[in-house]
């Protein structure tokens, strides 16, 4: 109970409630997350269950359209799957990949950045040059290369089964230097502060100083880039799916839905590509707006009037 009271009285909640944009975007984000992770309960159909799909229902327009079918609120795609259900399931895949990739990036990047920033010297030079090399490959290049390699080596069947962990690995690997650089920069700044010197004078081991004393003080910047990175990872996944190297159409993400619909856009079935597109924009936008607010909140120098 006392935790709840503390939250209620905190400046964090106060400044959050005073920012309508932050409230709106987190409300939107919350609904999207709840709906997508509760998809098996919320969604009217199960797009993975082929027995319920009828090819005769293919390309039905949304409900309010004159040819609409009242079983399918947002219409159906080219295989007769309910758009709304497929989107909810697809968004779940997108969010899982986004969070997973960021977790991987975070673990690798924080580890490398912390060690490099604290130890310094040749180890730092080596680690940060590795990060520079990694950054000089574009995320898409790395993803396309490994995605294509995996497909060629193990075939499409294996690829479809392991697409989610594979995409998490690829996007996570390609973007870890973002974390490493941010963490290293703030470790370098923290390292010079007197409390670190005091910790050494107290006789603490350097591993303890790194993890217990310096790391928590760098978490502000980690938190802020994490929001940006989640949005980026979801977008990377969507972009990869759009060019056919992301999630397969049998287990679509938002990106692969947009792509699948794109093939039908000239035959007049605009809803197949438009609705997943709107969902993707809403998801990314609310994450980014929330991240912006968090950055402003955590950095008092940027206070708005």
């Amino acid at each position: 109970m006392s935790v709840w009271r503390e939250v209620k009285q905190s400046y964090f909640l106060y400044s959050f409630l005073r920012d309508p944009l932050a409230v709106a975007s987190s409300f939107c984000l919350l609904i999207l997350i709840l709906a997508s992770f509760g998809a098996p309960l919320v969604a009217p159909h199960n797009p993975y269950d082929t027995t319920t799909i009828d090819i005769m229902d293919a390309e039905l327009p949304p409900l309010w359209h004159e040819n609409g079918d009242n079983r399918f609120l947002l219409g159906t795609d080219s295989q007769g799957r309910d758009m709304l259900s497929t989107m909810l399931y697809g968004m779940r895949v997108s969010i899982i990949i986004g969070l997973g990739a960021v977790a991987l990036q975070g673990v690798m990047g924080i580890l490398v950045g912390l060690v490099a920033g604290y130890k310094g010297g040749q180890l730092e030079a080596l680690l940060m040059r590795m990060a520079d090399v990694q950054l000089s490959f574009s995320t898409y290049m790395v993803a396309i290369f490994f995605g294509a390699l995996f497909q060629a080596a193990f075939g499409m069947g294996m690829y479809e089964r392991f697409a989610i962990p594979l995409l998490i690995m690829i996007i996570g690997f390609a973007e870890w230097p973002q974390y490493a650089r941010t963490v290293r920069a703030s470790v370098m700044a923290e390292k010079k502060k007197e409390y670190v010197e005091a910790a050494r004078v107290i006789g603490l081991r350097s591993s303890r100083i790194m993890w217990r004393h310096i790391l928590p003080n760098t978490m502000t910047s980690v938190l802020v880039i994490s929001t940006v990175q989640v949005a980026n990872a979801i977008m990377s996944e969507a972009a990869l799916s759009f060019i056919g190297l992301g999630m397969p159409v049998t287990r679509p993400s938002l990106g692969s839905l947009i792509k699948a619909g794109f093939d039908y856009i000239f035959s007049g079935s605009w809803w197949i590509t438009l609705f997943p597109g709107i969902a993707l924009v809403l998801l990314i936008l609310s994450i980014n707006l929330l991240g912006d607010w968090l950055r402003d909140f955590l950095n008092p120098k940027l206070y708005k009037e």
């Binding site: 502060k193 005091a198 107290i202």
Partner: protein
């Protein structure tokens, strides 16, 4: 002084900073002894090498500085020859340090209790609960009210004077034999300064702890210490009992320092100062480092560095002109 009562013996300690344009000697053949429970004041202007000496004792001079000569015997062991792990066991355990700015020396994201327990757990083989009990006891000793509640709070919830009390409590945790206090009251306002000094003095006396008080404030040293060492340009100029230094200073530099104190100048009179500035470590003149500013400088002072030798007044001083 016999060997049994000796706590710390610093001999010919030199510390230099290796830079691209050559080595700068910040501490030059400094020697002093400290008996158990004795309190020594290390006094001097900014840049005289006081703080570097303090860090040198813990072998924690920040890079590119390092100890280039001399020995530091503490409880029978030479700290300059110990391994990093052996040193870590002494730091915060047998020797504690208190810094100038209590705003900066506490970690902002950990509670006071956590920071205190951590110090104990690093040196003692005890449980977290036992550590918490010791922390509670120590925080009572530094006269902080409602200690149970205070242990759960973060540094920003305390005032400057309170924080320095906490820093002192942390320094006391492991019952060290020696505390090095590097300008512990400079960042505090005058009324709190007196409180903190009194607390420090009281604790040193009751716990039989040695103290090295580094400061530029002669008034502070005279209240607390038994002996004073006056540093100038990395060297000790004069060392003697507090009473002797304050009432009968021998070295021209010490005399100049005391003469510059506002309370030693008649009301309404012009404040005195020592002419010139301290030479930077990169351009210390040959001979006596104070030579250029000394009013009674002679030829011999320009040629030879004066050794620290016993003088008639009962002190040690580095001056050619004193007998």
């Amino acid at each position: 002084m016999n060997n049994r009562d000796q706590l710390l013996s610093v001999k010919d300690l030199s510390i230099s900073f290796k830079l691209r344009r050559g080595a700068l000697t910040a501490v030059n053949r400094v020697s002093f002894d400290l008996a158990k429970g004795e309190r020594l004041g290390l006094v001097g202007e900014s840049g005289a090498g006081k703080s570097v000496t303090g860090f040198g004792i813990l072998n924690l001079v920040s890079k590119p500085g390092r100890i280039t000569g001399g020995s530091i015997h503490f409880e029978g062991r030479d700290l300059t020859r110990l391994s990093e792990e052996e040193l870590r066991r002494i730091r915060g355990n047998r020797i504690s340090m208190i810094f100038q700015d209590p705003m900066m020396t506490l970690n902002p994201v950990l509670t006071i209790g956590t920071q205190m327990e951590e110090t104990l757990l690093a040196h003692r083989n005890i449980s977290r609960r036992e550590a918490a009990a010791i922390a509670l006891d120590r925080i009572r000793k530094v006269a902080i009210s409602s200690p149970e509640k205070r242990l759960k709070q973060y540094p920003h919830e305390f005032s400057g004077g309170m924080r320095q009390r906490i820093v002192i409590a942390i320094a006391l945790l492991t019952s060290p034999a020696l505390i090095i206090a590097d300008e512990p009251t400079t960042a505090l306002d005058v009324t709190i300064q007196a409180d903190i000094l009194e607390l420090l003095l009281h604790l040193c006396e009751s716990e039989q702890m040695g103290l090295i008080l580094i400061t530029h404030d002669l008034a502070v040293v005279s209240q607390v210490t038994d002996r004073i060492a006056v540093m100038y340009a990395g060297m000790i100029m004069e060392t003697g009992s507090t009473e002797q230094i304050i009432t009968k200073p021998q070295h021209p530099y010490t005399r100049g320092l005391l003469g510059a104190l506002p309370q030693n100048i008649p009301r309404g009179g012009r404040l005195k100062q020592i002419p010139g500035v301290m030479p930077s470590p990169s351009s210390i003149p040959p001979g006596c480092p104070f030579g250029d500013r000394c009013l009674s400088c002679e030829d011999v002072c320009r040629r030879e560095v004066p050794p620290l030798t016993p003088k008639e007044a009962g002190c040690l001083a580095a001056c050619h002109l004193l007998d």
